[in-house]
Amino acid sequence: MELFINQVLAGVATGAIYACMALAVVMIYQAIDHLNFAQGEMAMFSTFISWQLMQWGVPYWWAFLLTLIISFAGGILIERVLFKPLAKAPILTNVAGFIALFAIINSVAGLTWDFTIKQYPTPFGSSPFLGSQLISTHQAGMIGVTLLMLLGLYLFFQFTRIGLAMRAAAALPESARLVGINTSWMIALGWGMASAIGAVAGILIAPVVFLEPNMMGGVLVYGFAAAVLGGLTSPLGAVVGGFLVGVFENLAGTYIPGVGNELKLPIALALIITVLVFKPAGLFGRAIVKRV
């Protein structure tokens, strides 16, 4: 029983990271209708930036904050330079753009910081959380930071005018322009926020998977699985999907014979395919009530 609870809690903790990645993916998907294959690499690069800042002697939380700001600006920059010109291009052009971005960021990170695995600090420590062996303080910190961020995002989208404008631009771009919303900038803002959310995910998972240019590869696949499971059109779904995928992945690795650590990733892929076949809209996918 203790093993079960332990695995569930560990699953919730990594699920928090998947939730962040899924949320970042969904934010960009809502804005431009494409999956950002480079989301993980952007997060990895942000994590390296924070690591570099700490190497230069910046304290953890300052580095964290600075990295979020830099990532936000970087996300906007990427959208302006690379994806705004592709706005009306066919889907494959966009996919090629994402893959190019993936390769470029990965290589630049490797070139700048090389491919050796680096330790990444955690501000929460790794002792047992509240004296219990079930979960470590870092895992508890991951869950806490994620939930705080989600709450912040919820408040932003529900209760601020700019959040409302962003939702409108994502839902109906033409109508949004007709009430005077600059939809192009709303997309850029979405990129900036997605990039910052990804940075949080990268920074939180780095102490677990260690810092290196390929650290987010697997994480992004789980993020996609979470986003698909929850429904690509639903931020709430992405979050719930993230936690579900995290728990499911851990339990399958522990209890299904032969899965172990090595076969965890195919489980995510199997999950993506299963959801797409049987419930393409996902658990929370948009079910629009309409009367005509």
């Binding site: 005018r161 409302l164 033409e174 322009r177 007709l178 009430v179 005077g180 919303i181 629009i288």
Partner: protein, 237 residues
């Protein structure tokens, strides 16, 4: 009277296809003008061209200043509210959020709050449903919401694209009564595109008739309504 909107030699294109062939017309400040025409005559295209939603050439002047190549959203911010065909309702959002969105470019939060109350007075049914998802409203209610959303901009000019489309005749009468009231009381200049020529001509003081991308007739709405050709082609008697 001065012209609020002045259009000269407006030509519009969908890809290679030319939809408007040199339109000239103007809207007087405070007027209620209707643009009549059959399907495919270019009515919707005219409205879309005013808001730069379709490729066009020619000169459009609003309050004496050319709109040039301004983006749709910046044209709207000048005070031109456009209720598109199909109403453009944000169906997944609540009624109140739709109204908030109408005023999204305004900065005066106190004015916005009082304007929302004003809209609820104009359209009591919206007040009853303000927390409801806009997609669950009936067609008529959604059209009321679309007009209210446009008014939240405090526009100088309101463009309406077939507001009667798909609505029951009684509801259309209600709606047109409200449009007349808005025009008189709030001093909003209105251009309404309609297929329901009879009602539109009753409501409007000016009218233009458009055929295959050209204006073929213009004048006082009453004169147009009495015109033999218009009666035969658009009023059906």
């Amino acid at each position: 009277m001065t012209a609020l909107l002045n259009i000269k030699d407006l030509r519009a294109y969908y890809g290679q296809v030319q939809a408007l062939h040199g339109l000239n017309f103007s809207l007087n400040e405070g007027s209620l003008t209707t643009l009549l025409g059959a399907n495919g005559a270019g009515k919707t295209t005219t409205l879309r061209a005013i808001c730069n939603m379709v490729r066009s050439t020619g000169a459009i002047e609003f309050e004496g200043a050319p709109l040039g190549s301004r983006s749709t959203e910046s044209i709207v911010r000048l005070g031109i509210a456009h209720v598109p065909q199909g109403r453009g309702t944000f169906t997944t959002m609540t009624v109140e959020e739709n109204l908030q969105l109408g005023a999204i470019s305004r900065k005066d939060s106190a004015g916005i709050v009082s304007d929302i109350e004003r809209m609820y007075a104009h359209f009591p049914v919206l007040k009853q449903r303000y927390t409801q998802q806009a997609g669950t409203l009936s067609g008529g209610e959604q059209q009321m919401l679309a007009v209210a959303r446009a008014l939240m901009l405090r526009p100088r000019l309101m463009l309406l694209d077939e507001p009667s489309f798909g609505l029951a005749p009684l509801i259309v009468r209600d709606l047109f009564k409200i449009l007349g009231k808005i025009n008189r009381e709030d001093k909003v200049t209105i251009l309404v595109v309609e297929q329901n020529a009879q009602l539109a001509l009753e409501l409007a003081d000016q009218a233009y008739v458009i055929e295959t991308g050209r204006i073929v007739m213009s004048g006082n709405a009453k004169d147009i309504a009495n015109n033999e050709d218009v009666r035969k082609s658009y009023l059906g008697y």
